[in-house]
Amino acid sequence: MTQAPPKSVNMRIDGHEVSVPEGSTILDACRKLAVETPTFCWAENLTPVNVCRICVVELEGARTLVPACSRKAEPGMSIRTDSARVRLSRKVVLELLGSSVDMSLSETFAKLKSQYGADPDRFGPRAPRAAAGEREAAEPGHHEVPDGSAAASVGQPVKVDNELFVRDYEKCMLCYKCVEACGTDAQNTFAIAVAGRGFDARISTEFNASLPDSACVFCGNCVGVCPTGALMFKSESDLRERGEWDESKQTVTDTICGYCGVGCQLTLRVQDNRIVRVTSPSDHSVTGGHLCIKGRFGSTFVEGDR
């Protein structure tokens, strides 16, 4: 059986002609032209959910902006990636995120914030954190009426319910990546999902059960894809808490996992002779960035201080 060569699609981005294979996204075309396009919720090893809207671009003839990460390239499209409308939407998206979520561990966010001149404080001081359990108790269609003196946030205490990773949902931008990694895109465990509605939407197990009581198998694939540090290895979180996290003292080594014969590539981050983070390259042919509990936590769990 011979396959027809893929058709190509010709379009214009910021006035430049570009040709990409059929099925490509606007983002693919932008990257081909080296036009920088920011992303948060997109990842090469996950199905696009296009929810963060930082990647929006202006498509000639369209009423609204369109998400570059998921909108398919079509013949004759004409795209602007740096118009006033694009810049305003990206700036406001950054401000909305920055005013409601702790984005302090996202280097992408810090860079974009200064690039777009985003000022999250325009909406007022961040409101105090919710008490534990308060956000989970919110009912869809109901909320405390605000007085506008402070900007509501997703602030809440960190959830520590196991030895392997912590969940600091004050840092959750609701990018859906962890849900996808736990579901059909990698793990097929479905331990977590989005629950609640609107601003009270959150990542949750059934009835807010602790992870050990849930379906979670501790593969850590959700930790591997989280862009904001909301999900973090306990080893890393403990060091950060003690003020001992020090990237200048860290080395990064690649190795092949020895637990079984599959041959997953592991990237080990080591500080003071201790493995503090284990990842796998998202373009690796075997793992696609995803691991199991042994590869992900075997070494930290053995060596970490319990």
């Binding site: 809207r53 305003l88 998206v93 331990a191 999902a193 509605r197 601003f199």
Partner: protein, 613 residues
């Protein structure tokens, strides 16, 4: 799938409620008969609603049982259940009252009603204050909460009362008082309030509403029922689509998309099966026209769906009805049964070779599920989160198959077009907007209700037809098109009610809302209520809408209190930026229009004097 399930056991009653849903779908010859995962998943919301109706809330044992029967991961089922306002995930008494505090009701004493309720039953949701009411001889507890628009604005203030149990009941009624609500919670039937059903031209959409008993198929037939269906079956699908295209019928759900074009695209789509969906989610604040059609002329809506199915080549239709319309639900369910018995639905529609059946699906309290792709997700058993377009529903809609989705009123208009032809249809209305339109007139007018008028009628004439403002007070503003529409100032009342007339006035007809505010109504709290609505009803998926609607409400709170951030002008600029980003970068129409009415009020009514701090 190898799923880890909850270990909690359901009660016998919960088990029975879920089994009944699964069994019912089997005996319905339902789509869900097929033993595949997709069909099972699509029973998730019906099963959760059954648990809610049985016990008054969805328990761990109940949800766990649903997950085992339908093979759904518990975390996902919890995610779905926690999306809907009519499903409770914490223990609640059997009797529960939802009291509307939305725009029309708050102008009609909703605040006083809630105060009276609070005195009698304690604070909303506060379990320690739940008072005893007597339900069919058993003492049970009751509690209440406020609710967005219940689609009874013509009878404001409105309430929806549900009583869970082995024979659960739900009643939505206007003219609500604390006494009536208490009586309903005790299981007594409440006398319906009255409202106007009027026309000032040809009575097409309202041909039977209020005049013919809507519960009897024989009377429907005696008054022109099924004539259009017989004619359509004789004409053939292509001719039906041609007639609808020629009529220039445009969607009445808000977007005004040409219906003929939509049907044509579905009929030509290669993939099968194709579906027809009637969008009866009607939840736009101020909207109740579809309710009147569904309650007072249910056979007409179902006949039109059958014609749509014939035209596009579908064998199955779904009618998705908002969960707050119990009367419409029973009328539609009854009409479907009678049509099946009389051979108008089933394997040989009206004796022809065309096979078609309709399934009624209930929503569960989520405005966003009226957005077409969110509606599909809801039927499929997922959270009501809109999907990106393209692909459009005509290519990939319900169950990712080609789908013709139309508003109730759009479908109802098809009957005249098929029976009398496109030329006759255009004998009323304007060149750009042929035909007639239903308007939902409420607020400060003498005779609130649903009005059928040819397109092109001036807004002012329609207000006169509704008896004008009681006591002859001056009009302060009209909210046109709903919360996603905009305000018209007294100077703009000559606006011509047609798609092109609204467009040239910078307005939109939206879902046909005409909500009148006289000069005694404080405008700012109304704007705030609209902001609150969008904050509550955002699905939460995309950043501009999820956070933007929160910031918009906070901003209005500051404007209302006068404690602004840098003055009224600065707040105006902030709102303009927010509005622009929500319009441009949100996934769906909810976020895209969340600031429309508020920005229009600031533009045409100047409610905030510049001198405010």
């Amino acid at each position: 799938m190898d799923l880890k399930h909850l270990e909690d056991t359901p009660t016998d009653a919960e088990r029975q409620a879920v089994d009944d849903v699964v069994g019912q779908s089997r005996s319905d010859g339902g789509h869900a008969l097929a033993p595949d995962a997709r069909a099972r998943r699509s029973l998730l919301l019906p099963a959760l609603l059954a648990l809610q109706a049985r016990r008054g809330w969805v328990s761990r044992g109940g949800l766990g049982y649903v997950c085992r029967v339908l093979e759904v991961p518990p975390a996902e089922a919890f995610g779905v259940a926690s999306f809907y306002a009519l499903l409770a995930l914490a223990e609640r008494p059997a009797a529960f009252a939802h009291l509307c505090d939305d725009v029309a009701c708050s102008m009609a004493g909703a605040d006083q009603l809630r105060a009276a309720m609070e005195q009698r039953f304690g604070a909303p949701h506060a379990p320690e204050h739940r008072a005893e009411v007597h339900t069919r001889g058993h003492a049970t507890k009751a509690c209440w909460a406020k609710s967005p628009c219940l689609g009874l604005c013509d009878q404001a203030p409105a309430a929806l009362v549900t009583v869970a149990g082995s024979s659960p009941s739900a009643q939505a009624f206007g003219g609500a008082t604390a006494e009536k609500v208490a009586a309903a919670m005790a299981g007594r039937a409440i006398e319906p309030a009255s409202y106007a059903i009027c026309a000032n031209g040809p009575r097409r959409l309202l041909a039977r509403a209020g005049l013919v008993d809507p519960t009897r198929i024989d009377l429907y037939q005696a008054h022109g029922g099924f004539e259009a269906l017989h004619k359509a079956l004789a004409m053939g699908p292509a001719a039906v689509i041609a007639a609808v295209t020629d009529s220039k019928l445009a969607g009445r759900g808000g977007a005004a998309f040409p219906t003929g074009k939509k049907w044509e695209a579905v009929s030509k789509a290669a993939a099968t099966p194709r579906y027809v969906v009637c969008n009866a989610d009607e939840s736009e604040p101020g909207t109740f026209k579809d309710r009147v059609l569904l309650e007072e002329d249910p056979f007409a809506v179902l006949e039109a769906m059958t014609i749509a199915g014939f035209a596009v080549g579908a064998a199955r239709g779904y009618l998705y009805l908002r969960g707050e319309y119990p009367k419409a639900a029973s009328r539609i369910a009854g009409a479907i049964q009678q049509m099946r018995a009389a051979g108008f639905l089933g394997s040989q529609v009206a004796g022809s070779g065309f096979a078609f059946d309709i399934e009624l699906r209930s929503g569960a309290g989520a405005y966003i599920c009226g957005e077409e792709t969110a509606l599909f997700a809801s039927i499929e058993g997922y959270r009501g989160e809109p999907r990106s377009k393209p692909p459009f529903p005509v290519h990939s809609g319900l169950f990712a198959k080609p789908t013709a989705i139309n508003n109730v009123e759009t479908l109802a208009a098809v009957l005249h077009i098929v029976r009398e032809g496109a030329a006759s249809y255009a004998s009323a209305g304007t060149a750009g907007s042929p035909g007639t339109k239903l308007f939902c007139v409420s607020g400060r007018v003498a005779n609130p209700g649903v009005y059928e008028t040819p397109f092109g009628t001036p807004l002012r004439s329609l207000l006169e037809m509704a008896g004008g403002v009681p006591g002859g007070r001056p009009i302060q503003a009209v909210l046109l098109g709903g919360a996603a529409g905009g305000f018209v100032s007294p100077a703009g009342l000559d606006l011509e009610l047609s798609f092109e007339g609204a467009r040239s006035a910078g307005a939109t007809l939206g879902s046909g809302v005409i909500l009148v505010l006289d000069d005694t109504i404080p405008l700012v709290p109304m704007l705030r209520r609209i902001a609150e609505f969008f904050r509550d009803e955002s699905c939460g998926q995309c950043v501009p809408c999820r956070v933007g609607t929160v910031r918009q409400e906070e901003l209005l709170a500051r404007l209302e209190s006068g404690v602004t951030r840098g003055g009224v002008e600065a707040e105006g600029l902030l709102l303009a930026d927010l509005g622009q980003a929500m319009r441009d970068a949100s996934i769906c129409g909810l976020g895209q229009t969340a600031s429309s009415a508020i920005e229009s009020a600031l533009r045409v009514l100047q409610p905030f004097p510049r001198s405010t701090r």
